[in-house]
């Protein structure tokens, strides 16, 4: 098994308006896969489809080698899930929640659960409904880790948390991954967090996949170029041209993807000169990707 999650040509339309269209995603085994996108882009819907909570109109989803939703119970026994909103019963104590969860997972690791309870400084006697937002997030991640899954699916697990809690949670997560070699599918709009921990990245916008690449390729391949003397219309380029912005009289700014240094040779060929290559961080790259994606869609639909 090379991919822990494979989504092929997925279509899902819950009603009028929003739809996932022709979505294909491949999460390699052992990867920490970041799933980025603005609010309402379809990240949570995709996760719910991956977990069998929703049924797609067409397409194929395979998780850990088994078909979803057909083999849902078998798959879910090996998947740790942290939802966007804690969904546990607020009238149960933390200990009661742990006992409940343990009964359903044959692989439940009591020792790890106890250790995480101590590490997160959680009071087992406390009602879940009385916990702070950060403590609830810790309980959710504890449950996902103690069930010893081969895949963790995390839907904005640290959204709205303070930096200390966020750091605690990410540390526990990375520790688990390094011990178990599990794959992680994490959705977020905290670009810097994704940049820090992920080795693969996918970007969604308006129900469509914008890109799916190794993190290094996106980080190192997205550049801002200062170009002088370029013609108004261009033929095919060896890189992905995301944006072309007028600058000073002498030069304009191009935002490009899939950039490699040897591509500098392209500019003399069109009568232009490349003056400067500026590195972009992931956030800039993400914004430029979305911008160019939206422009190309507008042009495509015009």
């Amino acid at each position: 098994m090379t991919n822990v999650i494979e989504i092929d040509s997925l279509h899902y339309r819950p009603g009028k308006g929003f739809a996932l269209k022709d979505l294909s995603i491949h999460v390699p085994a052992g990867a920490i896969y970041g799933f980025l996108g603005p609010n309402g882009s379809g990240k949570t819907t995709t996760i719910r489809l991956v977990l069998g909570l929703l049924r797609a109109q067409s397409g194929r989803i395979t998780v850990l080698g088994d078909a979803m939703p057909g083999d849902a119970p078998k798959i879910l026994a090996r998947v740790g899930y942290v939802p966007e909103q804690p969904h546990l019963d607020p009238t149960l104590t933390v200990d009661e929640i742990l006992r409940f969860q343990a009964a359903f997972y044959p692989t439940w690791d009591h020792e790890r659960a106890a250790q995480l309870l101590r590490q997160f400084q959680l009071d087992g006697e406390r009602l879940f409904g009385r916990l702070s937002k950060g403590q609830k997030a810790k309980v959710m991640i504890l449950l996902a880790l103690a069930q010893q899954g081969d895949l963790l699916v995390l839907d904005e697990p640290t959204d709205g948390l303070d930096p200390v809690v966020r750091r605690d949670i990410l540390a526990a997560l990375l520790d688990y991954v390094s011990q178990r070699g599990a794959a992680v599918f994490i959705s977020s709009h905290l670009v810097h967090e994704i940049e820090r921990i992920c080795d693969w990245i996918a970007v969604m916008d308006d129900g469509r996949l914008v890109t799916e690449v190794p993190m290094e390729q996106l980080k190192n391949g997205t550049k801002r170029l200062r170009v002088a003397g370029a013609p108004a219309t261009l033929g095919p380029t060896p890189f992905a041209l995301f944006a072309r912005e007028p600058g000073t009289v002498a030069a304009e700014t191009w935002v490009v993807g899939e950039w490699k240094p040897e591509m500098a040779g392209y500019f003399p060929g069109i009568g232009a000169s490349l003056q400067e290559v500026i590195d972009l961080d992931l956030e800039d790259g993400f914004v430029e990707l979305l911008r160019s994606f939206r422009v190309s869609r507008r042009e495509g639909s015009a």
């Binding site: 078998k74 879910l76 998947v79 939802p83 019963d89 009238t91 149960l92 409940f100 009964a103 359903f104």
Partner: protein, 218 residues
């Protein structure tokens, strides 16, 4: 699995079960109070039967209330969490529903047992007028079946979405409104009557709630 499911349902519905059990135990004893007092003449057979019959109307009400409340309490936390937790547990959905259903049914066995115990105790300690007999087991069985029917129906309704429950209530409400309008307009239309016959008649699913709930009878 069943143990933790039962525990959570006990936690959610323990107050209902506790109050229901007290009422279920007390009801047969109170209904035979007149017959049980040895310090004065027992009630005449006719009076006792009347008292037992009037108290008897409370058994189906209690059975329906217990079925409704335990069914609702069993599903309420899942509804609050939009079923996300339940649906991400590694077991088939039908099995989860079965576990929830069995948990509630097991809890309802407590008030049912209380009716049996209260009825046996009441008839054993009462001085019954000649010609009358106690039927504690029949009453207990009647109560158990009524509770089971009420629980099954309300469990099924509660398992659905608010929309499903709304449709069911809407259909019932519409039938009543049409009947009222027909009555006001002097139309020869009787919807509720045949519906009542179908539902509460001898072959109907709710026939168990009708009839005589007599702890003591001839």
């Amino acid at each position: 699995m069943f143990r933790v499911m039962l525990y959570t349902q006990w936690k959610w519905s323990r107050l209902i079960i506790l109050l229901g059990t007290i009422a279920a135990f007390a009801l047969p004893i109170i209904s035979l109070q007149g017959a049980a007092r040895a310090d004065r003449n027992p009630l005449a057979a006719q009076d006792l039967l009347r008292a037992v019959q009037s108290w008897g109307t409370l058994y189906p009400v209690l059975a329906a209330a217990l079925g409704l409340l335990v069914a609702m309490a069993g599903w309420a936390p899942d509804h609050r969490g939009r079923h996300v937790h339940a649906l991400t547990l590694p077991l088939p959905r039908w099995r989860y529903v079965l576990l929830r259903c069995a948990g509630g049914a097991a809890l309802l066995a407590i008030p049912v047992a209380a009716v049996f115990a209260g009825a046996i105790l009441a008839t054993a300690t009462a001085t019954l007028p000649p010609g009358l007999q106690g039927y504690p087991l029949a009453l207990g069985t009647h109560f158990a079946l009524a509770t089971a029917v009420a629980y099954a129906v309300f469990f099924a309704v509660s398992a659905g979405t608010a929309r499903t429950a709304g449709i069911i209530l809407g259909v019932c409400g519409a039938a009543v409104v049409v009947q009222i309008v027909a009555g006001v307009a002097n139309l020869d239309l009787d919807i509720v009557g045949p519906l009542r016959m179908v539902v509460l008649g001898s072959a109907g699913p709710f026939a168990i709630f009708t009839g005589r709930w007599m702890l003591v009878d001839v």
